[in-house]
């Protein structure tokens, strides 16, 4: 059957091989900019490169990182999840309710809080996949619902975990003996590996990319797209739940009014990491680098005593530059 194939007249040399190579390059670029930024801050203030400060940076990456990991899946499908910020606050409040108000053993409370996050994601997925609502709208609605519920459930007051030292150890304790290395960072590391394996090695990950590449074609290929979308939003919700647990463990309390704004930081991390908002492209490594860039910026600018207000301005500019550079590079490649 190959006898006539020369007539298709497509010189093989025309095709750039290995999109994987391109993706690697992208991650490499993100990583390189992270290094450059870090070197810049080190030059500005040597304290930046100390073990204590690095730990600090990693520690402050945990919450944004977890949210960004989950939402990476959603964004690769071409969707968006705006409910992860306030959803996280609601999960923190639920965790407080389970552990403090109901007095459940803290590991059970943690598990239930994470599952509660999954429930939020499940509802999001149902709205998007079965009711056919645009992800932006349905998760915007969920953002408001979660914000309200967090206040209702907690009666607008923080819930303190003073009597659950185990719960607090989850974030600030150190499993590694002799080293002041917070457990929260280990949690993020494990979550990153899990997310990375899910994205790269599993059917779930492949379908996530497939849906983002071409949803119609994926459905016609016999994939139950709406079922998988529900799974993906639920997964994002589980990460939200974990983020809720980690932020409340770090603060020692569930703060019902926090959370709004985190979703945008998480989305920013994903975008800086090179994941395309139009779907079909992205990586977990990129997302983590994106999250690190954000917290390195915050940390370094703080060290340089640049006011908080300016930090946001700089972060905004970084997002623009990152996305523009990514697009310019793609255009050059095309």
């Amino acid at each position: 059957m190959t006898t006539t194939s020369e007539h298709t007249a497509t010189p093989t040399s025309r095709m750039p091989t290995a999109r994987t190579l391109r993706d690697r390059l992208q991650q490499l670029l993100a990583f390189a900019s992270l290094i450059v930024i870090a070197l810049f801050f080190t030059a500005a203030d040597p304290i930046f490169m100390t073990f204590g400060n690095i730990t600090n940076v990693l520690f402050s990456t945990v919450v944004i990182g977890l949210l960004a990991l989950g939402t990476t899946f959603v964004i690769i499908t071409g969707g968006i999840d705006l409910s992860i910020g306030t959803g996280m606050a609601l999960c923190a409040v639920m965790s407080g309710t389970f552990v403090v108000t109901w007095g459940l053993p803290w590991p059970v409370g943690v598990l239930l809080a994470i599952l509660f996050g999954g429930l939020i994601g499940l509802v999001n997925g149902f709205n998007v996949a079965r009711l056919g609502l645009p992800p932006f709208i349905s998760t915007l609605a969920m953002m408001l619902v979660a914000q309200g519920l967090a206040l209702v459930v907690s009666h607008s007051a923080p819930i303190y975990f003073n009597d659950s030292p185990g719960y607090l150890q989850l974030s600030t304790g150190s499993l590694i003996p002799g080293l002041q290395f917070p457990n929260a960072v280990l949690v993020l590391a494990v979550a990153t590996i899990v997310a990375g394996v899910l994205v790269r090695r599993t059917v779930l990950g492949r379908y996530t990319f497939a849906i983002g590449s071409n949803e119609e074609a994926t459905a016609l290929s016999g994939i139950d797209v709406s079922r998988w979308k529900i799974v993906i939003y639920t997964l994002a919700g589980l990460f939200t739940g974990l983020a809720g647990v980690m932020i409340s463990a770090r603060l020692g309390s569930a703060q019902p009014a926090t959370g709004a704004g985190y979703e945008l930081q998480a989305i920013a991390a994903v975008v800086i990491g090179g994941t395309s908002l139009s779907g079909g492209k992205g990586s977990i490594v990129g997302t983590i680098i994106g999250a690190l860039i954000i917290s390195v910026l915050n940390n370094g600018l703080q060290l340089m005593s640049i006011p908080q207000e300016w930090q946001n301005v700089i972060l905004g500019v970084v997002i623009l530059v990152a996305v523009y550079a990514d697009q310019a590079r793609k255009k050059a490649a095309a």
């Binding site: 007249a9 095709m15 999109r19 492949r206 074609a217 459905a219 016609l220 290929s221």
Partner: protein, 561 residues
């Protein structure tokens, strides 16, 4: 077919050279897209430009519209050298291009689309709609385009949308009009109208370059045919003095059989798929057909006859309002393409890019998509090595031209992309394959390969439904031809009795023509249910289907791998 058109009249002043392309070279990293391209368009003629995909047609168009600049060589318009700097500049020079994909804003009106960027304004800011519509109306009248300037473009048929594109192009006082596959989505009547418009446009001062894969049309519309291959000029022939075979052999560099007949017609085989009384709310009524093992069943019909709708309804992509589907003797209910795939029914859409492929993903990823969970995963974990080896095997057995299984599908030619879609369903081990326009937008050489592939698949016992708008290809391939018109089956022809004329007759039949006689006597047509009838009618059909379902599922579970 020696039709004499006005454009072909001998007294026209044809020796005026309108557009000359001379020695144009354009290379991209790793490929020489054009290598000494040569072309002349005379005033008052329609020049057909043909060549396989990848021959350099689109590069040439992009050079003419100024998207790329040539490495060397010259373009001359009316004897003066031009260097188009961009699409806008090319238009100002008098070169307008109508691309296969339209550049229209569906939510704006015809007039708004026609005069976009040139709207009459007051105070430099406020639009003046009445004047806009008047100007657009005058323009449409002058061009002989039967369009309402106030109509919303998105609500128009493809043919009318194309007229809007033509209107836009001609409103710039184009001297040279280049049309890329203008008839790809048109039915025969619409093609006639388009050709009329082209003849209307062509004067001694203007000319048309007409790019098409539909050879029969070139005879109809063109004065000369220029053939290019691998970025080179091959030759130009006067249309009246040539024949299809000569042009095709120039294109591919060898002779191709065009009068082939179906191979291995199987009339004795058992039926695999049976569809009874299929109906949808929108279009289909009482569609019944049977597909036998190892058979290629053709579906013919004009655009909008409902062939694609039948395919989509059968695989569960669209809901059905009535009808039953029987697979190997057992009734099945298919509500979702996932179920169809499970049962071994694959649908290859007419629109590869929109419904068939993940363009930004690799060949291997595309091939594995349908069968990923069943064939390439252990407890949810993907085995990439298996994917690559199966992909490599299919790449070589189907002759897919790609540097590797990791290359991005968007970089493959149309024919090779189509093969990737086929490979996807072969990896899934489907035994019923529904091909919707499998050769659309594919060059002649690659078409031949697809035909051979379909014949091989049928010979291996796969059952194939082949929907096609190109009658010669259906007659060549199909063991039987089902003809549809206006959502119904109007006839079925065996390979030996199918001729272009008979198929066209059935395809143009009004399904309720028998009722037409009655209509003359002002009687209600007996066959067509009134709107209020549809509901209960549908329920009546659906009921036995749902009763049969549990057994069917159990039955089919054993058969799906």
């Amino acid at each position: 077919m020696t039709v004499v058109h006005g454009t072909r009249s001998p007294e026209r002043a044809i020796d005026r050279l309108l557009l000359e392309v001379e020695g144009v070279v354009k290379g991209f990293p790793g490929v020489q897209a054009l290598d000494g391209m040569h072309l002349t368009l005379r005033g008052g003629e329609v020049l057909a430009l043909v060549g396989e995909n990848g021959a350099g047609k689109s590069t040439l168009m992009k050079l003419l519209s100024g998207i790329y600049a040539p490495d060397s060589g010259t373009f001359r318009l009316d004897g003066r050298e031009i260097r188009p700097a961009g699409p806008k500049h090319a238009e100002d020079l008098g070169i307008s291009i109508i691309h296969q994909e339209f550049n229209l804003m569906p939510d704006l009106t015809v007039a708004q689309n026609l005069l976009i960027g040139r709207e009459p304004r007051s105070v430099g800011f406020f639009t003046r709609d009445r004047l806009l519509n008047e100007r657009a109306g005058a323009l449409l009248d002058r061009l002989g385009l039967p369009l309402d300037p106030r109509a919303r473009v998105g609500a128009l048929t493809v043919a009318k949308q194309q007229m809007v594109e033509i209107g836009k192009a001609l409103s710039h006082d184009a001297k040279v009009l280049i049309m890329d596959e203008p008839t790809a989505a048109l039915n025969d009547a619409e093609v006639e109208v388009l050709h009329g418009l082209i003849r209307h446009f062509v004067t001694p001062e203007t000319g048309v370059i007409y790019i098409s894969h539909r050879m029969d049309e070139l005879k109809e519309i063109s004065d000369r045919i220029t053939v290019i291959r691998d970025g080179r000029y091959i030759g130009t022939v006067d249309t009246p003095d040539t024949n299809l075979r000569e042009v095709i052999s120039m294109m591919v560099g060898r002779a191709i059989r065009t009068d082939a007949r179906p191979e291995n017609v199987r009339e004795d085989r058992p039926p695999v798929l049976r569809v009874d009384g299929l109906a949808t709310k929108a279009l289909l009524k009482d569609v019944t057909f049977e597909l036998r093992e190892g058979e290629i069943l053709g579906f013919a019909g004009l655009m909008g006859a409902g062939r694609t709708e039948v395919a989509r309804a059968v695989v569960g992509a669209d809901p059905i309002s009535a009808g039953t589907i029987t697979l190997r003797g057992a009734p099945v209910r298919i509500r979702h393409p996932a179920r169809a795939a499970e049962l071994g029914i694959g649908y290859l859409s007419e629109d590869r890019k929109q419904f068939g492929l993940m363009l930004g993903q690799s060949v291997a990823t595309n091939i594995a998509l349908s069968s990923l969970a069943q064939r390439f995963a252990t407890r949810g974990f993907v085995r990439d090595r298996d994917i690559r080896s199966v992909a490599d095997a299919l790449i070589s057995s189907l002759g897919i031209k790609t540097p590797s299984s990791r290359a991005e599908v968007s970089n493959l030619s149309g024919g090779n992309q189509q093969k990737v879609v086929i490979a996807k369903w072969l990896a899934k081990d489907c035994d019923v394959l529904i091909f919707d326009e499998p050769t659309r937008g594919i060059d002649v050489g690659a078409k031949d390969e697809i035909y051979r592939l379909l014949n091989d698949l049928a010979a291996q016992g796969k059952s194939i439904v082949m929907i096609s708008s190109e009658l010669p290809e259906l007659l060549r391939m199909a063991h039987r031809v089902v003809v549809m018109s206006e959502g119904r089956v109007t006839g079925e022809l065996l390979a030996d009795e199918a001729t272009q004329e008979r198929v066209m007759h059935l395809a143009t039949l009004r399904p309720d023509e028998s009722a037409a006689d009655a209509a003359e006597l002002h009687l209600p047509p007996p066959d067509v249910p009134a709107a209020s009838d549809v509901g209960p009618h549908a329920d009546h059909h659906a009921a036995p289907q749902s009763e049969a379902r549990p057994g069917a599922d159990a039955d089919q579970a054993g058969q799906s791998s």
